[in-house]
């Protein structure tokens, strides 16, 4: 199996590019600024580069290969037409600082997407400046802070977060200069309203909530929660990472949310790219819409223009975020259309409930009642093997495992999100593999413990990686 670093393929004198002739003469370089280093960069041919990265790619698993039921990540199919459309040079070659009159198509598209999302979420305005979900959280929290400051309400320093929340929520709160107050969950796994009442006071700036939450449950008291927070003078932040469950079926505005972020790289089908780029589109209702960051597209006298909002928190990204990604989300919504969009949420939820029904005999379901678009198991019922072992064994069956050890509510969490683009046959194969693994755990647990057996590498020593830190080619020399 191919195992080299590109640096290890280097041979002095090889080149990978042919440059056009230049007719511009050489100008003397400023000596005192020249580097004294001899850079250790590879010298390889074009074929070397093709082979190298193609071989690397073959060690990866992607959505085009099979089900990728990573809970909280919404690994749905990434349509190819969206990729094609996003590669139009008339969009790709736009300079972000070129005047609005010369980028009307790009601005119109952004404007149209905003209008569609306003309708889908029930909000008043969107910004596409944040580059990922966590970036959207930070932006939304800054808007909440700016809102209270505008009202001269300076003592509001606390943000409430349920203990089921994703790690980015509390981290964003800290970066935005707020304090985290953790909220307990009930036995059922939803927000403990009694605890909420205890902690609400006039120092609470707002509350962050994911709905459905990370245990896959719909917060049934959502309207009570948002009312309590509003009555105490706080604002409600919706972490839209799980919005796929409700796409076409419900609007967060109706639940009482003031500001939200959507992960366009989840619900709206843009590819995850091995970890990014995403877009953490931030949407705001009446109270917060004037606080949105960066420049915002508006239609003035038939012309699309970029303007700062009057209470803008300032810029959170360089120009206007990951613009090219929003083209894909726009194409996705248009290709689904009003006829189908509701099916997204319906089938996502149907699939998760089906997986739950098919596996609850073998895997522990720690929450009661109907779930939404993802099902969290607390490991094997038999406890004959850990969640880690189950996940690694799934790799041998050719599947990407679920999210594991998140949410932190349960010690053996396996969070399965079987998105709407998966067929019944695919889901059945996945279920069969998990049932087989449950049997193997009883009879031959070492099969799980030693798994995976068939992957490009086997279990890796993470302790060694941290202890003898090697993070670049030079460290290997």
């Amino acid at each position: 199996m191919y195992d080299k670093l590109i640096f290890e393929r280097s041979k002095e004198g090889r080149v990978g590019i042919t440059l056009p002739k230049t007719e511009v003469k050489d100008y003397p370089l400023p000596k005192e600024h020249l580097t004294k280093r001899d850079l250790l960069l590879p010298e390889v041919s074009e074929v070397d580069v093709i082979r190298h990265y193609t071989n690397l790619s073959l060690k990866n698993y992607g959505v085009d290969r099979g089900i990728y039921p990573l809970g909280s990540c919404t690994m749905k199919y990434n349509p190819k037409i969206n990729e094609e459309l996003s590669k139009n040079p008339k969009f790709n070659n736009l300079h972000p600082l070129q005047p609005d009159v010369t980028s009307q198509g790009a601005l119109e598209l952004e404007y149209n997407l905003e209008k569609l999302l306003n309708e889908i979420l029930g909000l008043k305005a969107f910004s596409f400046a944040p580059c990922a979900g966590a970036h959207g959280e930070l932006t939304g929290l800054m808007m909440i802070k700016a809102y209270h400051e505008k009202n001269k309400d300076y003592k509001r320093k606390k943000i409430l977060i349920p203990d089921s929340a994703h790690g980015t929520n509390p981290a964003s709160v800290a970066i935005a200069g707020f304090e985290v107050v953790n909220l307990r969950s009930t036995e059922e796994g939803t927000v403990d309203v009694e605890h909420l009442k205890e902690v609400l006071d006039d120092e609470v700036a707002g509350m962050m909530l994911t709905n459905p939450n990370t245990a896959g449950l719909y917060e049934k008291d959502i309207c009570i929660i948002t009312k309590l927070v509003h009555d105490a003078g706080g604002l409600m932040y919706y972490d839209g990472a799980n919005f796929n469950a409700l796409l076409g079926l419900a609007k967060p505005s109706a639940m009482g949310f003031d500001v939200i972020h959507l992960n366009l790289h989840k619900t709206f089908s843009t590819p995850h790219g091995g970890g990014g780029p995403g877009v953490g589109a931030v949407g705001a209702g009446e109270k917060l819409k004037t606080f949105l960051p960066n420049k915002h597209v508006r239609l003035e006298n038939g012309l699309y223009v970029r303007r700062k909002e009057k209470d803008s928190i300032g810029n959170v990204s360089y120009f206007q975020g990951n613009y090219n990604v929003i083209l894909k989300a726009y194409a996705y919504i248009l290709s689904m259309g009003k006829e189908n969009i509701r099916n997204v949420g319906e089938f996502a939820v149907l699939n998760a409930n089906y997986v739950k029904a098919a596996l609850e005999e073998y895997y522990e379901v720690p929450v009661k009642g109907a779930i939404m678009h993802e099902v969290v198991f607390n490991g094997l019922k038999s406890k004959k093997a850990s969640t880690l072992d189950v996940a690694k064994r799934l790799l041998d069956y050719g599947f990407h495992p679920s999210t594991i050890y998140f949410p932190l509510l349960f010690s053996q969490s396996m969070m399965v999100e079987p998105v709407e683009t998966e067929s019944k046959e695919t889901i059945d194969e996945f279920i069969d593999a998990l049932i087989k693994i449950a049997h193997e755990a009883e009879k031959t647990p070492e099969l799980l413990h030693d798994a995976p057996h068939t992957t490009p590498v086997r279990r890796l020593d993470e302790v060694l990686a941290a202890r003898e830190l090697k993070v670049k080619y030079r460290d290997l020399l």
Binding site: R14, V15, I17, V24, P30, R37, L39, L41, V49, Y53, L56, N60, R65, N88, N93, L94, H95, P96, Q98, P99, G105, L109, L116, C131, A132, G133, A134, H135, L141, A171, S172, A174, I175, Y218, A250, K251, N263, H272, G274, G275, G276, N315, S317, L334, G337, N340, R342, N343, L350, N353, A357, M372, K392, I404, S423, V457, L460, E462, L464, Y473
Partner: protein, 436 residues
Amino acid sequence: MHKYLPHTASDIKAMLDKIGIKTIDELFVALGDIKLTKPLDIPSQMSENELRDHFEMLASKNKNLLSFCGLGSYESYDFSIIDALTSRQEFLTSYTPYQPEVSQGTLQYIFEFQSYVCELTGMDIANASMYDGASSTAEAIFMAVAATRKNKVLLSKTINPYVLEVVETYCKYRDLDIEYVLEKDFSFDLEDLKKKLNNDVACFVAQTPNVYGILEDYSKVKETLEETGTLFIINQEPSSLALFKAPSEYNADIACGDMQSLGLKRNFGGPSVGYLATISKYQRRLPGRIVGKTVDVEGKRGYVLTLQAREQHIRREKATSNICSNQSLMALTVSIYLSLVGKQGLIELSKRAYNNAHYLEEELLKTKKFKKTTDKPFYQEFVLEYLGDPKVLETKLLALGYLSGYNIKDNLIIFYASEVRTKAEIDEFVKKVGEV
């Protein structure tokens, strides 16, 4: 039915039976009256052909301009294999490498990306990418604030204003004090730095080549900062690093910046990719993903996410940052670009950018419509004083299909001539400028 939704009526029936319910609606009873009763008011579904037409209609309203404006959005050669490789589904449709056994492709290219960043900047350790050069600068400041437990930040006035806007936002909400070090002759003013430096200052942040394209000289900075225990952060345009001094040669503590110039299209501003690197001493303060080399149970070389105790999924509100998803595909793009261009290619390309910019400056001055502003050395951008009205110049050039230089203030215009500009293009542009 829809092409992205494979369930047939019989599939749905079988699944509902297994769950033990009759209708899909029963799955949503918890929603109560929040549940929508009518369809969303959005357009009807479009076929691929309809989508193509719609996008073409929008695209035709954009105007591609020949650009002499940089300011953080640069042009580089487009090599066909970059798109061929980054479009591979194995890269495009995977996510953060949570399962390393089936993510070695991603983990290894991140390791190589970190190697490139370290090699270019001379730093010891880099992360897997940041959103862009602006957020990486803000995060560099947060690292310095955490490391020094000081609350004040000195920023050079010669940093790109679009970077400064983001940094100001981040610092404001974090309750950090910002003070600016003034510019002198289009470079940061060392005397002003000395004047403003005190024991409360966590870091001094500077940019080279700076917003005017000028190569700043930091040979006295580190010794100046030492007394107060202030860290030195350099934001540097990475294509300049093949030729010019690196952050390590000025003993910087943290290096940051944007890598868009290395093979990424301008794309109306994004996606771009930020880099962030530091010296070993501060490795545990780095935000974001870091990939490290290790071995598997059979002793085979492999790569994993490492030093994760810094990150949000473990440390929550005590994490070094909130970043989770990053700009991984762009880190791959930059890595492929650097692999292809190689050592000699990178030097050659930056020399061409340097030569083009110097030729453009020379020719523009010959029109007698500009005044030279400074004798400081510059790289691929430079600043001239226009003797006419900059707005008129901009508008007239725009009508001719040019994106002229950036009018930063008064009559000062920052021009950029990338390595892809030909002599003929430059000559034609200068001719048109002369005719205005």
